[in-house]
Homo-oligomer: 337 residues x 4
């Protein structure tokens, strides 16, 4: 018996979701909903066998659906996801999970009560590069992590409903949340809305961890950059790495450059020595992230285990987005998480 | 009659200062001072004709010196520069100008009173790349400037007396101060001292301008990066540019990518259209910046005009450093300039 | 009435050909043939409405087919294409056109006699980059072309039937043939078969033009390179350009660097001056090359004009391949074209 | 007692030779000769203690000179070097060693007879990158070497006396000669003189080894390239490396990409499998090559051992240049070495 999926939203990203669910050996898409007639028509032509509806309710309430995928604008996530859970369906929700932490809490509680699963579409976690970073950090190859520095800038489309933080930062927040294990305690965000009021198009976000963690994270996101940049620097006290997502090969480089602190010599002598040795370029698996994500969902649904990108992971990202927005509207005021 | 220069400090940077002053056709170095015997010996071997002294006073008070160049750690700038001005000498001071704004004010006032010149060694202003950026922005080729985004990171030597802000940001602050004409009003800085207490080795600084300016600047500086990066992005509403100081050629690229705001259509329609046209790589002059800087100093001394990097320019940079440090010690608190 | 296409060969490249013909508004794929049962099954699943056959004859002889696309190994091109022409069908043939020049001649003559069209799948001619190069050279922006220097290397799959020349050089030969207008007269090729006898995996090919052309072309192709490189340098006496096909943006850069020859001064004076001015990055259209190629084919079929990649273009490429192979087997002996 | 050096030629490269000999602890430059008065004047100002002469004979015959460094155009090497050897001096000769192999033979024989040393200035052999390549290849880390592919192109100054082969190829020939241990047997060279008759400005050179070596080398050199490229690819059957001399760090990358040949399966099955694993970036020592070369010369002179860049090494490079030129004048005719 295949797991039956209903997908709400067949705009830019929806077709990828449908295709990847549909090509899983043990899953099948049974219904698609979209309020746009053109989108429905495209779905019908591509998948004559899948029923399509204008009203999302038809998908949510269909007895022929086990999982509802919500691939709509963030403002509608809570409402659709809640109804799906109430109808006894597992949910797969586009990132960011919800528009507020309160909404996320409610959905998580509801799923808990109903023994249903939530997966938030943090696709990047399933790329070869992020999996490799997770592996390197988990086995302490970088040592203690000192900083996480991310840049995601390009000439982007302006969104009317959300600013650059809600558009781009979910990627980077979800990656950091996955690979780094630090207790965060505060956010400060700066930025500017050059074009549309309250729709910031450039933002700089700093995350503080608890003091003993000695960790800082920074995110540079920009819709108005003439060039496209997608890099992360992760500095550890043993090694450091850089991820450049835009090169075809050699996406990750690991540098044997750490800091040796030698305090025996007293304050007036140079306390820090650098190791600067060989670097290496680990082999990254070429897998389609979305496909891997759905396989993971299938395994969680059938094995009754939690996805790495479950509701709680989604909520942590929403919390960071929420705090960042609060800070950016207050000239970078420090906001406790 | 050549202008006679005395140089205090013959450590890492001093030899460059001596060589460049000495090779100006109308200038000549007459005296060098350094408290380190080894440095003095090197100076003596290289320049048998230039007198050298252990005591800076010997240089400052020498009747055979018109200009005193102070190429020592920042903590000593004020004292040496003040004595030189009191002795009636023009001064050339290594960046950052002084350790506090108050010191800068005092030196500027003293020079004013004594009709003496101050040049602060903001060498980068004399590179072909910065001169080209200044030219492009001054003639409005980029349109209104929306943001300035600078990254200067590498595996750097730790300094014991100053943090990464005082070490690296003077370069970027002085460049921004020179090429961008915006009224700044506040600073917020984040960072962390991973290795030595209060010696931050990573910092993220945001500058706010007056609201009507619609301008934001950001600086990413880091002594603990495995890779070296030196880039600036300057976004205008007409064009944007990127400067990469680490490539041999093609350091600056100008993109015909701006934002056209079309508000006629009402708020619900897409207001922004991107132009995405040709880019070009302007030719950059290959000149030695330091040599050009000294020629400029000579012209100012003889033509009685102010250097572009005069005491006031030096003071503006010190003010930004001071505010940044205050903010970084207060978890990014907004500090008014 | 739509133009009806039959496609022979549904292996690696065939599906792209089917998809692009099928999505042309005025064309439709009616039949697919492949000797491999698995390929036919995939075709059937993807296109339930298109008939599929094991025997290519069924496609060639179908009254429901106007154009036969031959997307099979080169050794079979001649035979299939000939039968298709004899059956009164226009042909679209994968590159390289044929295995010998004699075969190409025969097909061209046959098509001529039957008033049928031949298009050879030189896809690269329809990329934005090649079209831009053609445009720049045609309007003499580079001046007289002095050299053409191409590198196409990577870690490639070994083919059992053809060497690296027949595999990779058709791309580069067809591009050069299209953008450069020089009378070629000889070929010299060097290389080595490290792995399989007579299957050269690295080759260096030089093309000579008639002496008065003062033109030389060179091709570096390699299946055993650890890194992937795809660049062309085209040097003119006015300007020069470089094409890097592996970067996402900024594929072509045009340099205002030419040679000014000033012979007035006599042999003992420096005769050459370099201009070294601005460079620029022209905007390249992002279009799917294959789609554009098929549109061009449609226009030729209906407008009764010759494709830029007609049988003669295909034959010129085959001639160069043939001569190159002859030369490489004779230690680089000069072979007249 | 320091070894006393006399330097003939103080043009572009001479000052580097003087400086590096002069700063060796156990060597000292005693005399400089140049026919150009301006060069002599610069030498005198920089080194008041070193005698300078218009006539090279004064250096060659000076009893105060043990080693004569010949840093003049290649056409004069033989004559000056021969006189120096006859006068009982060791010689250090700029590359290329001589204008013909016959001249090289004569000098080698003369030095042998007189028990004098010859060093040819193949500076590149002493760079960290070439030393690292030598080390990796010597310890068989790359396995059997299959090919050597070098590109050295830029917008270069035209020389009036020599073509691009004699100007640029000595670098690459000397590097290949040092790191690769293959018996070469033939040369084929193609090129063109676009600007000055017989002064080729672009050349493509292929070297053949004895057949059992299964090795091929190729050199792309060009004075008329709009961009500067300095790369070498070395392919082995175990690993491959790329050297990019223009990047500041990470000059060499080693790829675990070789070819496994599995012939058990018969000719119709795929015979080749690629390993495509991690790559690494070995640490390269930052040393001044010229300084290291002179230290090596000192050690050879005092330890009575042959330099790695002795007369024979110089002769092998000249032989390749000679054969290349012969071939290029005959449209790439294969010339036996």
């Amino acid at each position: 018996m295949k797991i039956k999926v209903g997908v709400i939203g067949y705009g830019y990203w929806g077709p990828n979701i449908v295709r990847n669910f549909h090509t899983q050996p043990e899953m099948i898409v049974k219904a698609i909903a979209d309020i746009d007639q053109g989108a429905l028509k495209r779905a019908g032509q591509q998948y004559p066998d899948i029923k399509n509806f204008k009203d999302p309710k038809a998908v949510i309430e269909s007895p022929d659906v086990d999982v509802v995928a919500v691939v709509t604008p963030v403002s509608t996530h809570y409402d659709l996801a809640k109804k799906a859970l109430e109808a006894g369906k597992h949910i797969f929700v586009e990132k960011p999970f919800t528009a507020t932490t309160a909404q996320a809490d409610e959905l998580i509680e509801l799923a808990e009560k109903k023994k249903l699963q939530i997966m938030v579409d943090h696709t990047f976690l399933f790329t070869g590069a992020v999996r490799k970073m997770k592996e390197l950090i988990a086995k302490k190859e970088l040592g203690e992590i000192l900083y996480f520095d991310s840049t995601r800038i390009n000439l982007g489309l302006f969104q009317h409903d959300v600013n650059v933080i809600w558009d781009l930062a979910p990627h980077d927040f979800s990656i950091m949340d996955y690979v780094i294990d630090k207790k965060l305690k505060g956010v400060s965000a700066h930025g500017m809305a050059h074009v549309q009021k309250k729709i910031e198009n450039v933002a700089y976000i700093t995350l503080y961890a608890e003091e003993k963690e000695k960790f800082i994270a920074h995110f540079n996101i920009n819709w108005l950059s003439p060039v496209k940049v997608r890099t992360m620097l992760i500095g550890g006290d043993k090694k450091m790495l850089i991820w450049d997502d835009l090169v075809a090969d050699e996406k990750i480089k690991v540098y044997d450059r750490g800091v040796d602190i030698d305090s025996k010599e007293g304050v007036h002598k140079l306390l820090v020595a650098y190791r600067s040795g060989d670097a290496y370029i680990p082999k990254i698996e070429h897998t389609e992230a979305l496909n891997l994500e759905m396989r993971h969902f299938f395994e969680c649904l059938t094995g009754n285990k939690k996805p790495i990108n479950d509701g709680l992971a989604g909520r942590r990202v929403v919390k960071l987005l929420e705090c960042s927005e609060k800070s950016i509207r207050n000239q970078g005021k420090y906001i406790e998480i």
